[in-house]
Amino acid sequence: MSFSRRQFLAGTGSAGLTALGATIPFEMVLAQGAPIKLGSILDNSGNLDAYGKPMVMATTLAAEEINAAGGLLGRKIQVVQYDSQSDIALYTKYAQQLTRDDKVDVTHGGITSASREAIRQTFHRANSLYFYNVLYEGGVCDRNIVCTGTTPAQAVEPIVEVALKQWGNTAYVLAADYNYGQITSKWLTHYITKGGGKVLQTNFFPLDVSDFGSTIAKIQQEKPKFVVAALVGGAHMSFFRQWAASGMNKKIPLCSTTFGVGNEHLALSAAEGDGILIAGNYSQENTNPANKDFLAKWGKRFGNTKLVHEIAVSQYQGIMLWAACVKKAGSLDREKMLAAIESGVSIQGPGGTVTLDPKTHHAILDINVMEVKNQKLTIKQQFKARPPSDTLQFCDLQKNPKDNKQYEVKI
C-alpha cells in the first residue's frame, strides 16, 4: 500500500483539528470553502475546570446549532479551541496563536478576570474581535471587546439589597485575591454602604488557599449579620465545606457572587449547601421556552444537563449574540461588525432576553435572586432587563471609541 506524505499530512491534520475540539469534519469544511473561524481559550482542566468544561461544551453546542441551521453568511463555523489548563501563561500564548497563526474572525474565551486582562490587549492590538462571556467585576471599556456576563450593578446590587433587608446591616466579605475579587469587594462595599449597611471586614485569599479555619473563627468574632463570598475555583470550594462542617451554615447566613457558577451546589451535599443566596442571569429552573429548548438540546448532545451553569449559558448566549451581529452586518468586516454590535441587537437566550448595550458593549440581562435548596437553584425574585449601570457611569464607546480602560468604583 502506498501512502504519500501529502495524504498522511491531510489525515493527521484533520485528526489533529478534531482533537483540538473542531466540531465539524475537515472534509465538510473544505467542501464549503473557507469556514468562519471562531477561536476559544478556556480552562478545560485544572483548578478552574468546573467553570471551563461546561463552557467548552456550550461552545460546541452553539457552533453545531449554527452550522445545522446552515451556518453564517453561507459559511460554516469552525471552532479553534485551546485548553489553557488554568494557567495564565497559556492564555497569552494561545491568544497570540489565535491572532497570528489561526487568524480567527472572533474569539470567545477567558474565564477569570486575570485571564481576560492577560489577553484583552493582544486582541485589541490585532483588531481581532473578542467576546468575554463570564460574570465579572465590570468597568471594561474597550470597543474591541463585548462582555456578555453580569456585572456588579446587575447581580451584586440586587443580592445586597435582599440580604440587607432579610438579614440585617453588617457584613463580612471574603474575596478571591486578584482583580475580580478586589474590584468586586469594592462594589460590595459601595452597595452595602449605599443600602445603609456596614462591611465589618474584607479578607482576600489567593486561589490556592484551602484552609479557612482561622477565617471562620474570625467571622464569628466579628458577628456579622451575613457573610458575602466572592471566592473562585476548586480550592476555595473548601470554604463552603468547612463553613458547613463547623455548623456555621445554621448560624450566620451566607450569600455569594460566584457560588453556583461552577456548579458548587452539586459538589456540596444538600445539607451543606441549603440556604446560600446567590444572584445571576441563569437558573436551570427558568421556565422560559428558550431554556427548555436549550436544555433539551444540551441533554441530547451530552447525555444529561447536570453540568449546565451560569457561565456555560453566558458563553452560549455570547456566541448567539455574535451570530446575530454577523447576520445583521451581512459581513465579517470589522467596521460593519462594530456597527451591528452597537445597533442594540437582541436574542432570546436560556437566561431570558439578552440585549447588547451600544454604549458599553455589555449585555442588558434578566437577573434572578436564587436560593440553594436541595442542590437546586430556586428562583426567589426576578429583575427584568437590568442594564450594566456600573459600567455605564464611566463608559461611552460611542463618544470615546478609542477608550481602552477598566474603570473601578471609588470608595
Partner: protein
C-alpha cells in the same frame, strides 16, 4: 475567653496538621537522608484513595486509617525497590529521580480521576464552644496526630525494631556486622514513611478537597518542618511543628492566612541561619 480557646484550638490543629504531613517525610529524610520529592504526591494519593473509597461506599474511617496507608505503603515499597534503592548515597540523583516520580504520579492521577477538584464531606459534625461554632473534624485530626507521635515514640524508644532502625541509620556497617541487613532496614523504613504519608493524606482529605497538583501544597511545609526540626525524627518534627504552627495561626488571626504563611516561611529562613543543623542540632540532642 471563648475566642482565646478558639485561637488555641486552631493553633493546635495547625501543629497537628504540620506533624501529620511531615511525619512520613521525617522518617524517610531524617533517618535515611533520602530527599523524597515525591512526598507530597504520596500524601495526595493517600487522599485520593480515601475519597475514592468513600465514593464507593466503603466506611470512610476504615478507608483513611487502613486502606490509604496500605495503598501508599505498597506504592512506597515499589518505589524503593525499583528506584530509590539504586540511588542510596547519591542525594542529587535521588532528588531528580523522586521529582520525576512525582510528575509521573500527578500525571497518572490526572489520567484516572481527571484534573478536577474532588472532595467528601467531613464525617464529624461541628460543635459549639461557648458562642463559637467549631469544626468537629479538626479534633479528630488533632487526636490522630497525637496518637501517631506517641506510637512513633514508643516504637523508636522501646522496641527492638526501633533500635535496629536507629542503629542501621547511624552506622550501617556496625548494624550489618551484627547481622542486620541495612538494605532490608532501609526498605521497610521507606515503606513505613510512605504509609505515614498515605495516612496523612487520607485523614486530611475531607477537610480540604484535592486536585492532582495538591501534593505541592504539602511538600513545601513538610520539608521546612523536617529540615528545621533537625536530626531527631520525632522531637525535631514536633518542636518545629509547634513553632511554625503557632506562628502561622497567630499571624493568620492577626491579619490573613497569606501573611501567616509568609511570616512562617520568613521565620524558617532566620531559624535555619541561626541553627543550620536544625532545632535538634542545638537542643534535645539525644532525643529520638
Amino acid at each position: 475567653m471563648d475566642y482565646a480557646a478558639v485561637v488555641l484550638l486552631e493553633i493546635i490543629y495547625m501543629i497537628a496538621f504540620l506533624a501529620l504531613t511531615s511525619a512520613g517525610l521525617a522518617v524517610v529524610f531524617g533517618m535515611m537522608r533520602v530527599i523524597n520529592l515525591a512526598h507530597g504526591e504520596f500524601v495526595m494519593i493517600g487522599g485520593y484513595t480515601t475519597i475514592a473509597c468513600a465514593k464507593a461506599d466503603i466506611n470512610i474511617y476504615f478507608a483513611m486509617l487502613v486502606i490509604s496507608p496500605l495503598v501508599v505503603g505498597i506504592l512506597g515499597l515499589l518505589v524503593e525497590r525499583l528506584v530509590v534503592r539504586h540511588l542510596y548515597g547519591r542525594m542529587i540523583d535521588t532528588m531528580l529521580a523522586t521529582w520525576g516520580l512525582s510528575l509521573l504520579m500527578v500525571g497518572i492521577i490526572t489520567f484516572i480521576f481527571g484534573n478536577t477538584a474532588v472532595s467528601v464531606p467531613a464525617p464529624i459534625p461541628g460543635y459549639e464552644l461557648g458562642e463559637f461554632q467549631m469544626g468537629g473534624y479538626n479534633l479528630f485530626i488533632i487526636g490522630i496526630a497525637t496518637l501517631l507521635i506517641i506510637c512513633m515514640w514508643l516504637v523508636m524508644r522501646f522496641t527492638r525494631l526501633g533500635l535496629v532502625a536507629r542503629g542501621a541509620m547511624q552506622s550501617a556497617d556496625v548494624a550489618s556486622s551484627l547481622g542486620y541487613d541495612p538494605k532490608r532496614v532501609y526498605m521497610w523504613t521507606f515503606t513505613v514513611g510512605a504509609a505515614l504519608s498515605g495516612l496523612a493524606g487520607g485523614v486530611l482529605a475531607p477537610l480540604t478537597g484535592l486536585l492532582p497538583s495538591s501534593g505541592g501544597a504539602y511538600i513545601a511545609k513538610a520539608f521546612i518542618t523536617v529540615i528545621t526540626g533537625g536530626a531527631a525524627v520525632i522531637t525535631g518534627t514536633l518542636s518545629s511543628s509547634v513553632i511554625f504552627g503557632t506562628i502561622n495561626q497567630l499571624v493568620s488571626f492577626g491579619s490573613t492566612p497569606v501573611i501567616g504563611e509568609i511570616v512562617m516561611l520568613a521565620f524558617a529562613v532566620v531559624l535555619l541561619r541561626l541553627m543550620p543543623q536544625g532545632i535538634t542540632g542545638r537542643f534535645f540532642r539525644n532525643a529520638p
